[in-house]
Structures are given as C-alpha cells and as structure tokens.
C-alpha cells in the first residue's frame, strides 16, 4: 500500500528541487509570504483515487496534481504563461521513484505524470480584486503504482 505521505513527499521534493529559482512555492500546509513576491506558485495534490484491482494486485492510485501560477507583474502580461511553461517542462511525462519516509535507498513504487491541461483564469481576478493578477492553472493526472512485493 502506497502511503499518501510518501507520494506527496516525492512530488513536493521533486518540484522544489526543479522549480525556477527566485519564485516561491506555496505548498499545502505552508504559508508562503507572497506579499513581497511578484510571482509565485501554489502546488496542490487535489485528488487521490484508488484504482480497482485484484486483492493481490499492486496498489495503484490516480492523482490530480495542480500547479497554480500567479504573477502580479503589469509590464510582462504573459509572465504567468511563462511560469506555466516552466511547470510543464518540470512535470509533464515524468516518472518519479517513491521512497518511504526516511529511507531514500528503498523504492516502494513510481509516480508517472501525464500530459498537462492548462486553464487561464486571469480575468476572474481582474473582476474580483480590481487589481492585476495573472493566474494560469496547470493540471496533471498522474498514476502512482506500488512495486510488486
């Protein structure tokens, strides 16, 4: 059985190791200070759904990984798109090993991330906040599969 903690740690650690320098990331449970930043990411695992399988079959989970790309920049009006491109470059079609907590030498499974889906939500913030805020959402479905035991 793959632990949600281990899947989340795998995805978080990989993202933090590869995310563009100088752009903070807000992870679930961590408040990033975005007031000082012109750009930032929010990184969520929104859904985890177990796949139907035999009792003896390996555990499989379908995930929805979402990266929200925000920018308050007014001169570069396509900054959020650039951040979204970075997110796609980092995550799309990647396969990551899952390590149990505190044991980086053991692999209990793999997360395989598929192609991205992008949504441009900037106009909603213009209406709601009356201030410029670019917002692009990049979503990935991923499948975590346990190694056979």
């Amino acid at each position: 059985m793959l632990a949600l903690h281990d899947i989340s740690t795998t995805l978080h650690a990989y993202w933090l190791s590869a995310a563009p320098a100088g752009v903070p990331t807000m992870l679930s449970g961590i408040n990033a200070a975005t007031a000082e930043s012109a750009d930032w990411f929010e990184y969520w695992i929104d859904l985890l759904e177990g796949a139907v399988r035999r009792d003896a079959g390996p555990d499989e989970q379908t995930l929805l990984v979402t990266v929200h790309c925000f920018s308050k920049q007014t001169r570069d009006t396509l900054r959020a798109q650039s951040l979204a491109d970075d997110a796609v470059q980092i995550l799309a079609r990647r396969t990551l090993p899952i390590h149990p907590s505190g044991d980086p030498d053991t692999t209990t499974g793999y997360v395989r991330i598929s192609e991205p889906s992008l949504q441009h939500l900037t106009r909603l913030h213009i209406v709601e906040r009356q201030q410029p805020l670019q917002h692009v959402v990049v979503s990935f479905t991923a499948r975590a599969t346990a190694m056979p035991t």
Binding site: V52, R54, P58
Partner: protein, 167 residues
C-alpha cells in the same frame, strides 16, 4: 452459515497458471479482472416431419470450454533476458524455454496449461476454486493503450466444464 450473500467481483479473484507438476507457477498480478469462460452444450433437434411439438432433442457432441483474459503488460521477456527476473506472463503462455514451464499434455500433443481461478469470499466463508485443465492457446494479442499495454489471451480448455470446489 454455508454461504454469504455478498456478490463477488474482480477484487476477489486470483488467477494462477500452472504447468506440469514441479514446473514454475505464475500468479497473474496485473490482470484486468476480465476473465471470462463459456461452457457450451450442443444439441441435435430432431423434428417429426417438420413439427417441433412432435419432435425431440438429442445430446450433440461435447464442446470444450472457451476462455479469455487480459493483463497489463510490464515486459515481455523476464527470465529469457535475465535469469534473476521474475517469471513473466508472456513467457509462461508461450512456453519460452527460459521460463521452465512444462506442458501438462504428453510430448507430441498440443502444449497445455492448468488455470486455477480462485474467488475468495470477502466474508471468508465460502471461497471457491475453479480449475481449467488442458488449456491451450488460440490467440495471444499484444496491444498498446493510453494507461497500459495489454496482453490478451484467448484459448480453450479441453474439458466440458471446469472443476469447481469449495475451499
């Protein structure tokens, strides 16, 4: 209580493929849970001068059991490529030399296997084992897919019905 009223589903099943006696067995772990078999009965209709009401039916020839299943494909070659690899489904179904699997039929006859399908009672009361002997392959289809590539087996068991027992 002899039985439970819990409907069994694919979660409860386990398919094991066996060769002759001491040859390796393979528990199919990545099957899709779509095992299907059909027991056929042939009947000869004898009509009396075209009349069904006055006619009768006789037993026809016995029919073998057809069965099929599919499984996700991880690799086709296991022991053929690396002796330390676990036995793989493709090698077992094709009697690859490296797999060590031995036919359950004598030399000179078509190569056959034994399929054991166990359906566990989720309540642990009335589990059942369904055994297909003398299973031979009619087709083996390898296909690509978005989520997983598949190995699809169709074949026949040279018996009129599987042996079912309570375990």
């Amino acid at each position: 209580m002899a039985v439970t009223n819990l409907a069994r589903n694919l979660r409860d099943g386990e398919l094991v493929i066996k060769g002759l006696n001491a040859s390796p067995t393979l528990t199919v772990l990545l099957d899709e849970g779509d095992l299907s078999w059909t027991e056929r009965q042939r009947t000869i209709e004898i009509k009396d001068r075209g009349s069904i009401a006055a006619g009768h039916v006789r037993q026809g020839d016995e029919e073998s059991v057809s069965l099929s299943f599919s499984a996700k494909w991880t690799q086709l070659l296991g022991r053929s490529a690396n002796a330390a690899d676990p036995l793989t489904l493709y090698e077992t179904l094709t009697f690859a030399a490296a797999s060590g699997i031995a036919s359950t039929s004598p030399d000179g006859q078509q190569k056959t296997l034994t399929f054991e399908f166990t359906v566990a009672d989720p309540a642990g009361v009335a589990s059942e084992k369904i055994v297909f002997t003398k299973v031979y392959r009619e087709s083996l289809t390898m296909s690509e897919g978005n989520e997983a590539n598949l190995i699809s087996f169709t074949g026949r068991a040279f018996i009129t019905a599987p042996a079912i027992s309570r375990i």
